[in-house]
C-alpha cells in the first residue's frame, strides 16, 4: 500500500458515518432552518419563504413559560433520578456479585414495553381511585386525593421513563473502579464517607455526567408524559411544538421553537461540561 493510500484509509472508514450524518442530520437541519424563516401555515395555504425572522421572537414571547417549565421539570426529574439511581448503581456494581446481570435486567426490563404504554400505565396507577393515591394522601404527600393532572405526576412519569438512562452509565463507570483503590483509601485511615467522597465519587464522575445529560436532554423535549399525566397548565415545550406542527400546521413556528430549544440545551450543555470538568466540584482531581 502506498503512503498516500494508507493515510486515506481512516477517511474511507469514516465515510459511511459522515454520509449518514450529512444525509440524516446536516441536510434536515438545513431544511428546518429554512422552514423557520417561512411564514403562514399549511391550512391557510399561504406557506412561503420570506426571511421571516419574527418567527423566533413571536414564538418565544408566546411560549416562554413552557420553556421555563420544561427545564424545571427536566431538571427536577434528573435530580430525583440521580438520587434514586446512584445507590442502585452502587449496589449493583459493588454488592451485586452473582445477581449483577439479573439486577441489570430488572432495571432494563420495563423498556421492553413501549414508552407510550408505560406512560399510560401510570395513568391507572395514579388515578384518583387507586390505592397508591390513597396511601399518598394519608401520608400527606398528595393534596385532596388528586395526583394525576399535576406537575408532580408529570415529573414522576419523566423520572420513571428515563431512570435506566441514569442507572446504566453510572453502573458502567462504578463497575470500572478498581477495588484496590478503595482498599487503599481505607488503609490510609479514611472513613467510609471520606473514601466515598474522595475516591469513588470522582472516579464515577464520567458516568455521572453522561447519565445526567442522557436524562436531562431528552426529558427537556419530552411531550408524552405531560400529555397523559398533566393538566393544561403542565404542558411542556414538546407539547407546544407537536401541537403547532400537527394540529395548527404552523411549520415555521414549530421549526423556530425547535431551534430555540436546541440552542438553549446547547448552552446548558456547555455550561455543565465546563462546570463538571472543573476541579472545584470534585475537590482534588482523582488520578488513578
Amino acid at each position: 500500500m502506498t503512503s498516500v493510500r494508507r493515510r486515506l484509509v481512516p477517511y474511507f472508514l469514516l465515510g459511511p458515518g459522515i454520509i449518514w450524518l450529512i444525509l440524516f442530520f446536516a441536510v434536515p437541519m438545513y431544511f428546518m432552518a429554512r422552514l423557520s424563516l417561512y411564514s403562514g401555515t399549511v391550512f391557510q395555504g399561504n406557506l412561503q419563504f420570506d426571511w421571516h425572522w419574527a418567527n423566533f421572537k413571536d414564538s418565544l414571547d408566546l411560549y416562554h413559560s413552557q420553556f421555563v417549565r420544561s427545564f424545571i421539570y427536566a431538571g427536577a426529574a434528573t435530580l430525583i433520578a440521580l438520587v434514586i439511581s446512584y445507590p442502585l448503581a452502587y449496589a449493583i456494581a459493588f454488592k451485586g456479585g452473582r445477581w449483577k446481570n439479573a439486577m441489570l435486567l430488572a432495571v432494563v426490563a420495563p423498556f421492553f414495553t413501549t414508552y407510550l404504554i408505560r406512560t399510560i400505565a401510570w395513568e391507572t396507577i395514579l388515578s384518583d381511585q387507586s390505592p397508591v393515591v390513597k396511601v399518598l394522601t394519608d401520608v400527606g404527600l398528595a393534596t385532596n386525593g388528586h395526583v394525576l393532572a399535576t406537575a408532580g405526576a408529570v415529573i414522576a412519569g419523566i423520572t420513571y421513563n428515563f431512570l435506566p438512562f441514569m442507572v446504566l452509565p453510572l453502573y458502567a463507570s462504578l463497575e470500572r473502579i478498581d477495588p484496590a483503590l478503595i482498599e487503599a483509601g481505607r488503609d490510609l485511615y479514611g472513613s467510609p464517607a471520606a473514601v466515598f467522597r474522595k475516591v469513588t465519587l470522582p472516579l464515577s464522575a464520567p458516568g455521572l455526567v453522561a447519565g445526567t445529560l442522557l436524562t436531562f436532554i431528552p426529558a427537556a423535549g419530552d411531550y408524552v408524559n405531560a400529555f397523559f399525566l398533566g393538566a393544561p397548565n403542565n404542558q411542556m415545550i414538546g407539547n407546544v411544538i407537536q401541537d403547532l406542527y400537527l394540529k395548527q400546521t404552523d411549520y415555521p413556528a414549530a421549526a423556530a421553537l425547535s431551534f430555540i430549544l436546541m440552542a438553549l440545551i446547547m448552552v446548558v450543555f456547555v455550561v455543565y461540561i465546563r462546570f463538571a470538568g472543573s476541579e472545584a466540584l470534585m475537590g482534588e482531581e482523582a488520578r488513578p
Binding site: 388515578s127 397548565n233 404542558q235
Partner: protein, 384 residues
C-alpha cells in the same frame, strides 16, 4: 504530504453536493390546484380490484366489509388511522399536495376538514350517476350543508351530537354547559380538544354572565371571548384535561364527573356502566357529520363510489348502525332496525326526534386570518 487541506475540501464539497442534490429534489408545492380546477371522478365499468379506505376507529361493524367483498368481488383494505382531523391532515398533506393519496381511494373526515381539503384542491368531485342510493336515501337535513351545498364532493358517513356525558351517580345535577364552570366540580370536568365542538358550545350557552351567542352570526370576538372564559377555567384548575375520545377513561374511573363528549361514545359507555348518561344541554348541542370523500390520486374511485352506494342501502346501514350507534344519515334505517334490534331503533341518541335536537346547531365556519387567530388562541389554552 499533509492531508488537512484535502480533508477540509472533501468534507466541504460533499456537504455542499448533498445539500444541493436534496434541495433540488425536495418538494416545494404546498397548495393544490385550488377549487377552480377540481377533477371529477369518472366511473368506468364494473367496480373491481382493490379498495383502500381510511376511517376513524370503531366506526364500522365486523360484517359489513366481508359482506361488501362478497357482494362486489372488490378486495377491501380497511384502515382505522383517522384519530383527529388535524393530525390526519398533517399526515396526508405532503402526499395530497403532490396529487397522491398514499393508496387510499376513500377517507372519512369531519365537515370542516372536508371543506378545508376541498378548498386546497385535495378532493375530487363525485360522479353522482354511480351513487343512486345516496341521491335517494340521504336524509333531508343533510342534503344542502353550507360547506357543500350540492353534495358535490362529500357524502355523510355518520352524524353525531356533541353534548354532556355525565356520571349521574356522582353529579346528578349537571344539565348545562355552564355547570361545567361551577367551582363545585373543580378539577372534575374535561373538555374536548376539538375546537369546533368546545368553543361553540360555550359561546351559545352564555356562561359566567356573558350573553348567549347566536351561532349563525358569531363574530371573531365572540370566539375569542369564549376562548378566554375557557382559558380562565383551565388556568384555575377547573378543567382537568382537554381530551379526544380518551375522556372515556376518566369517566369510567370516576376521575371526572362530567365531560363534553360525543353521543355515540355515550351509548357504548352506558352499556358498560348504566350510570354514565348523555345529557342534552339545556342550551342545545352541536351537530356534526363525518363525511366520505375521494382524494386526488385515488387509485380506484369506481370502487369507492360502489362502497358509498352500498352503505346507503338501509339494510346495510342498519347493520353498521347497530354497532356504531351514532346518528344515521340514511333514511329508512330506523324501519329496518325496528325489526332487527328495537332497542337501537328507539334510542333517542341514535334516532333523535326533532324535539330532542331542537336547540342544536352546526358549528359556524371559520376561514382565513380569522381561523388562524382563533385556532392559535384556542391551542394556546389547551397547551397551557
Amino acid at each position: 504530504m499533509s492531508l488537512k487541506p484535502l480533508r477540509t475540501t472533501l468534507v466541504a464539497a460533499s456537504v455542499l453536493a448533498a445539500a444541493l442534490a436534496l434541495a433540488a429534489c425536495g418538494s416545494g408545492g404546498i397548495g393544490g390546484g385550488g377549487s377552480e380546477n377540481v377533477s371529477t371522478v369518472t366511473v368506468t365499468g364494473k367496480p373491481s380490484g382493490e379498495l383502500v379506505i381510511s376511517n376513524w376507529p370503531l366506526y364500522i361493524d365486523k360484517q359489513t366489509v366481508p359482506d361488501f367483498e362478497k357482494a362486489t368481488g372488490i378486495k377491501v383494505k380497511y384502515i382505522e388511522d383517522v384519530n383527529d382531523n388535524a393530525e390526519f391532515f398533517g399526515k396526508m398533506q405532503p402526499l395530497l399536495a403532490q396529487g397522491q393519496s398514499g393508496g387510499r381511494s376513500l377517507f372519512v373526515v369531519t365537515d370542516w376538514m372536508a371543506a378545508k381539503m376541498h378548498e386546497l384542491g385535495y378532493l375530487q368531485n363525485l360522479d353522482k350517476s354511480a351513487i343512486p342510493n345516496v341521491e335517494k336515501n340521504l336524509v333531508p337535513q343533510l342534503r344542502h350543508p353550507s360547506f357543500d351545498p350540492n353534495r358535490d364532493f362529500s357524502v355523510p358517513w355518520q352524524s353525531g351530537m356533541t353534548g354532556l356525558i355525565v356520571r349521574t351517580d356522582l353529579a346528578p345535577e349537571i344539565h348545562s354547559i355552564c355547570d361545567l364552570f361551577n367551582p363545585k366540580y373543580k378539577g372534575k370536568v374535561d373538555m374536548l380538544t376539538e375546537m369546533r365542538d368546545t368553543v361553540p358550545l360555550v359561546m351559545k350557552s352564555g356562561c359566567n354572565g356573558n350573553p348567549p351567542v347566536d351561532l349563525s352570526h358569531a363574530t371573531e370576538q365572540d370566539w375569542l371571548n369564549a376562548i378566554d372564559e375557557i382559558k380562565q377555567a383551565a388556568e384555575s384548575g377547573q378543567i382537568r384535561r382537554f381530551t379526544g375520545n380518551d375522556y372515556a377513561r376518566d369517566l369510567t374511573s370516576g376521575d371526572v364527573d362530567a365531560v363534553i363528549g360525543w353521543s355515540g361514545d355515550a351509548v357504548q359507555l352506558q352499556a358498560d356502566n348504566p350510570n354514565i348518561k348523555f345529557v342534552m344541554p339545556k342550551e342545545g348541542c352541536m351537530l356534526w357529520s363525518d363525511n366520505m370523500v375521494i382524494p386526488v390520486g385515488a387509485p380506484n374511485p369506481t370502487a369507492a363510489e360502489a362502497w358509498m352506494n352500498y352503505v346507503y342501502d338501509p339494510k346495510h346501514q342498519a347493520q353498521i348502525e347497530d354497532y356504531v350507534n351514532y346518528v344515521s344519515p340514511v333514511q329508512g334505517t330506523k324501519q329496518v332496525l325496528l325489526k332487527m334490534d328495537p332497542s337501537v331503533a328507539n334510542n333517542q341518541l341514535i334516532f333523535p326526534s326533532a324535539s330532542f335536537t331542537k336547540n342544536c346547531d352546526v358549528a359556524p365556519t371559520l376561514t382565513g386570518a380569522e381561523e388562524q387567530k382563533v385556532t392559535q388562541a384556542f391551542n394556546a389554552v389547551v397547551n397551557g
